[in-house]
C-alpha cells in the first residue's frame, strides 16, 4: 500500500519534470556527483523551508544544513586512503563528533515546535544508558528472537553490583581499589566505577546464564512468562534482602545509597586532564554523558561484530527456524544462552553506570514497567537493527524525561486554561501522567502500520511480512519440555 503511494508520487513527479524538458532518462545520464548534489540541495531546501515555516530559524539550523549537505553530496564510499576504505567511517565519525560536542552547542539550538527545547545533557545521559540497555535486549529479542520480559532484572543486578562494590554497604569490610571522592572514615568496598562496570557486566552475564539454563529450554510464550517471573522474584529479594539470615545484603526498601561516582583519580587528572572525580567536576552531566556515549559506542561495536559472526548467524538461524537450525548443527541451548548472557552483560553495565550516576540502587529499579519500556524501545526502533534500536531508546527515554512534559506544557499553553488558541479543557493536563498510555498507543500504532519497527533490519522486515517457521515438531512421548532433545525439536 505504502509502496504504491510512493510509486504514484514518483510517477507524477517525473511526469511534471518531463513536461518542462527534464525527462527521467536525461536525469539518469547526469554524472552521479551532480545528481547527489541536486538531490541533497532539494532535501536541505525542503528542510530549511520547513524550519523557516515553523518559525524556529537560527544560525545553528544553517549549520546543520551545511553539515547535512557535506555528508550527503560526496560519495564517501569510494574514499580510499592507502588502499583502505575509510569512506564508510566518515558519516559515523561526524555523527559521533556532533554528539560529543552536544553539551557545547545545545544552548544555541532552536526550539522545536511542540517538543520545545533540545534535551538537557542530563537527559542525554539517560538516553545513552537506555541505548546500551536496549542494545543489550536486542541480542535476546532482536537477534535470537527470544521474548524476554524480565530484562530489568539484569539492569537492577548491575545497579546492586555498584551498590555492593562502590559504597559503604558492607561496613565491616574495608577495601579501596582506585575509587575516587571518598571521605575519611568511609568503609566497605570501594572499587573504581570503571572496574565495577566490568564486574557488574560479568556478574550479570553469569546470572544470565544461570537464569537461562533452566528457562531457555522453553520457547515462545512460556519463556516470556518465566522471564517475567524472574523479573518479579529478584525485586522481592532486593526488597527483603536487609535480613537474609541476619545478613544485610540490599538494605531493603531503603536501597543502597550513596554510590561513588566514577573518576580517573588525581594522577590521571594531573597528567591527562581527565576528570579526577565526575561528581566533583564542574560539568558533571557532560562528563557522564561522554562516558555514556563511549559505552554506547562499545556496545554498538560488539553488537555489529557479533551479528556478523558465526554466533550471530546461529542466532538468526534459530530465530528463523529452530528445528532446521538444530538439524544443521547449531546447539540450541548454548547459542541461546550466549544471547542471554551477552544481553545480560550490557544490562548489568548500564545498570551499574546508571546507579553511579543516580548515586544509589533501589528496589524500585526493578519495576516491571522498565522491562516493558526497554522492550518498547527495541520494538519501536526496529528489532535486530542497531540504529533502529538506538533511535527507539533515545526517542522513548527522551519522551520519558522531557518530551512528554514539554508537549504537555505546549498543549496546556494552547488549549488549556487561559490557552492562547482555543480553550478546550479547563484544568491543566498532566501529560506525563499518561506516559504508559501514550507509549501503549505508540506501540499499537507501530504494530498496525509498521510491525517491523521504524528502522528495521531488512531481514526482520521480511519476517514480519512473510512469517517465520513457528511450527515445532513436538515429541509427544517425551513431552516434558525438560529434556534437551525434546526442547531441541
Amino acid at each position: 500500500m505504502r509502496r504504491r503511494i510512493g510509486a504514484e508520487i514518483s510517477r507524477g513527479w517525473w511526469a511534471i519534470l518531463g513536461a518542462v524538458g527534464l525527462s527521467r532518462h536525461r536525469w539518469q545520464t547526469l554524472p552521479p556527483l551532480t545528481r547527489r548534489t541536486v538531490k541533497a540541495v532539494i532535501w536541505a531546501g525542503i528542510g530549511l523551508l520547513l524550519i523557516r515555516f515553523l518559525g524556529v530559524w537560527n544560525d545553528s539550523a544553517l549549520l546543520v544544513a551545511v553539515v547535512v549537505l557535506l555528508l550527503v553530496i560526496p560519495s564517501y564510499d569510494r574514499l580510499r586512503v592507502g588502499g583502505r576504505n575509510i569512506g564508510k567511517w566518515v558519516v559515523p565519525a561526524v555523527v559521533v563528533a556532533l554528539a560529543i560536542a552536544y553539551p557545547y552547542y545545545m544552548a544555541h539550538m532552536p526550539q522545536v515546535p511542540i517538543f520545545g527545547p533540545f534535551p538537557q545533557v542530563s537527559t542525554m545521559v539517560a538516553m545513552m544508558i537506555f541505548s546500551v540497555m536496549a542494545l543489550g535486549l536486542n541480542f535476546v529479542v532482536g537477534y535470537a528472537g527470544l521474548l524476554d520480559l524480565g530484562y530489568v532484572a539484569f539492569y537492577a543486578m548491575g545497579a546492586y553490583m555498584a551498590g555492593w562494590f562502590a559504597s559503604n554497604q558492607f561496613s565491616n569490610q574495608n577495601l579501596n581499589i582506585g575509587a575516587v571522592g571518598l571521605y575519611k572514615g568511609d568503609t566497605g568496598f570501594h572499587f573504581s566505577i570503571f572496574l565495577v562496570l566490568i564486574m557488574a557486566g560479568i556478574a550479570t552475564g553469569i546470572v544470565g546464564v544461570l537464569i537461562g539454563l533452566p528457562t531457555l529450554r522453553l520457547r515462545g510464550d512460556y519463556l516470556a512468562i518465566v522471564t517475567l517471573g524472574f523479573g518479579e522474584i529478584l525485586p522481592q529479594i532486593a526488597r527483603n534482602g536487609d535480613n537474609l539470615f541476619g545478613f544485610n545484603l540490599t538494605n531493603g526498601t531503603g536501597g543502597i545509597t550513596p554510590i561513588d561516582g566514577p573518576g580517573f583519580g588525581n594522577w590521571l587528572h594531573a597528567h591527562l586532564h581527565l576528570p579526577a572525580n565526575f561528581l566533583a567536576a564542574g560539568n558533571l552531566d557532560s562528563v557522564f554523558f561522554w562516558t555514556a556515549l563511549l559505552l554506547v559506542l562499545i556496545t554498538i561495536f560488539v553488537s555489529a561484530r557479533l551479528r556478523d559472526s558465526r554466533l550471530g548467524r546461529a542466532w538468526i538461524a534459530i530465530r528463523e527456524d529452530e528445528v532446521a537450525a538444530a538439524a544443521m548443527g547449531v546447539p540450541l541451548m548454548r547459542t541461546k544462552t550466549w544471547a542471554y548472557a551477552t544481553g545480560a552483560f550490557f544490562g548489568g553495565v548500564a545498570g551499574a553506570y546508571y546507579a553511579s550516576y543516580k548515586g544509589g540502587a533501589f528496589p524500585d529499579d526493578f519495576f516491571f514497567q522498565i522491562s516493558v519500556f526497554i522492550l518498547c524501545m527495541v520494538i519501536l526502533g526496529g528489532m535486530g537493527n542497531i540504529w533502529g534500536v538506538i533511535f527507539g531508546a533515545c526517542f522513548l527515554s527522551y519522551l520519558d524525561r522531557e518530551g512528554l512534559s514539554n508537549v504537555g506544557s505546549w498543549l496546556n499553553g494552547h488549549f488549556g486554561p487561559g490557552g492562547s488558541d482555543v480553550q478546550i479543557w479547563h484544568k491543566p493536563l498532566d501529560v506525563p501522567l499518561y506516559e504508559f498510555g501514550i507509549f501503549g498507543v505508540i506501540l499499537v500504532v507501530t504494530m498496525l502500520f509498521r510491525p517491523e519497527g521504524l528502522i528495521p533490519s531488512s531481514r526482520r522486515a521480511a519476517e514480519f511480512h512473510e512469517g517465520v517457521r513457528e511450527e515445532y515438531m513436538y515429541d509427544v512421548e517425551h513431552g516434558s519440555p525438560i529434556t534437551e532433545t525434546t526442547e531441541s525439536m
Partner: protein, 260 residues
C-alpha cells in the same frame, strides 16, 4: 564396504501415545552405500528419519553411528558426528541469503567463539574467509552458481531444494539423509537430481539414505531398498528383488493386486 556399517539401528521404536509409528526396526546403512527407504504415506519413514537425526527420541532401541551410540543425544550432536539432512517440507532460513544458509550449515565445523568474533582476530578472519570460499564452491557444486547473494525465499522451488542439500553438505556429513528430495520437481529436474545423488557418492565419498516416492529415482540410484509399512520393516533387499516382493506390492496396491 567395510564390515562395520556406518549407521546401525537396533529395535528402534517410536510410539506416539497408543500409535506405534516405528515398530522395532533393525536397519543398517553400509559405508559408501545409497540406501532408499520407501513405503506408503504414513508408514513412519519421516518419523524414522527424525530418530536418526536426534529430532525425536526413540521410545526404545538404539542408534549407532560409526560405532558410537548416539541415542538420546541432541540433534547437533548427530550433525557433529556426520549426519546431515534435508527436510521433506523445505526448511530453509528463508530470510537469509543462500551463502548465509550454507554458512549456518558450517556452524559445527567452525571454531571462532564470541570473544574472537568481537576482536576479529586474524584466525577468525581467515576462518570466515575460507568458509565463504568453501560455501561458494558448495553452492556451485549443488548447481547454484552465482546465487550466493539471493535471499532464500526468492529462490525457485528447485533451487530451494538444491540449497537444502548444499546446506546439509556444508555440515560435512559422512551420511546424508534426504527426505523426499524430488517432491514437486518436474521429470527433468528429477533426472538431474538422480545424477546429482550419484555424484555425491563418487565425488564426495558420501553414503546416502533416501526417502523417496519416485520409483525411477529409487530404482535408479539405490544399492539397497528398505520398505516400511505401518512402522514395520516389511522388506529389504536390492531394487530388483523389492520390485517383485509380494508384501511390497500388497502394501502399495492392496491384496487384490497380488492375488490376481
Amino acid at each position: 564396504m567395510t564390515a562395520e556399517p556406518l549407521l546401525l539401528t537396533q529395535k528402534l521404536r517410536k510410539e506416539f501415545g497408543g500409535l506405534v509409528a516405528v515398530d522395532d526396526v533393525d536397519f543398517t546403512v553400509p559405508e559408501g552405500a545409497i540406501v532408499s527407504l520407501i513405503g506408503p504415506n504414513g508408514a513412519g519413514k519421516t518419523t524414522f528419519f527424525n530418530m536418526l537425526t536426534g529430532v525425536y527420541k526413540p521410545t526404545h532401541g538404539r542408534v549407532f553411528f560409526g560405532g558410537e551410540d548416539l541415542t538420546g543425544k541432541p540433534p547437533h550432536a548427530y550433525t557433529q558426528r556426520g549426519i546431515g539432512r534435508t527436510f521433506q517440507n523445505i526448511r530453509l532460513f528463508q530470510n537469509m541469503t543462500a551463502l548465509e544458509n550454507v554458512l549456518v550449515g558450517m556452524h559445527v565445523r567452525l571454531k571462532g567463539n564470541a570473544i574472537q568474533a568481537i576482536l576479529r582476530t586474524p584466525a577468525v578472519r581467515q576462518e570466515e574467509k575460507e568458509a565463504r570460499e568453501r560455501g561458494r564452491a558448495l553452492l556451485e557444486f549443488s548447481g547454484l552458481r552465482r546465487k550466493d547473494g539471493v535471499i532464500g525465499r526468492n529462490l525457485s522451488y528447485g533451487d530451494q531444494r538444491r540449497l537444502e542439500v548444499a546446506r546439509a553438505l556444508a555440515t560435512e556429513p559422512k551420511l546424508l539423509l534426504l527426505d523426499e528430495p524430488t517432491a514437486g520437481m518436474n521429470p527433468q529436474e528429477t533426472a538431474e537430481f538422480t545424477t546429482f545423488v550419484g555424484r555425491l557418492r563418487t565425488e564426495r565419498n558420501l553414503s546416502v539414505l533416501l526417502i523417496e516416492h519416485d520409483m525411477r529415482v529409487v530404482m535408479g540410484v539405490s544399492d539397497r531398498v528398505t520398505v516400511l509399512d505401518y512402522g514395520e520393516k516389511i522388506a529389504e533387499g536390492e531394487p530388483k528383488e523389492i520390485q517383485k516382493n509380494e508384501r511390497v506390492i500388497e502394501a502399495y496396491l492392496g491384496k487384490a493386486a497380488v492375488t490376481q
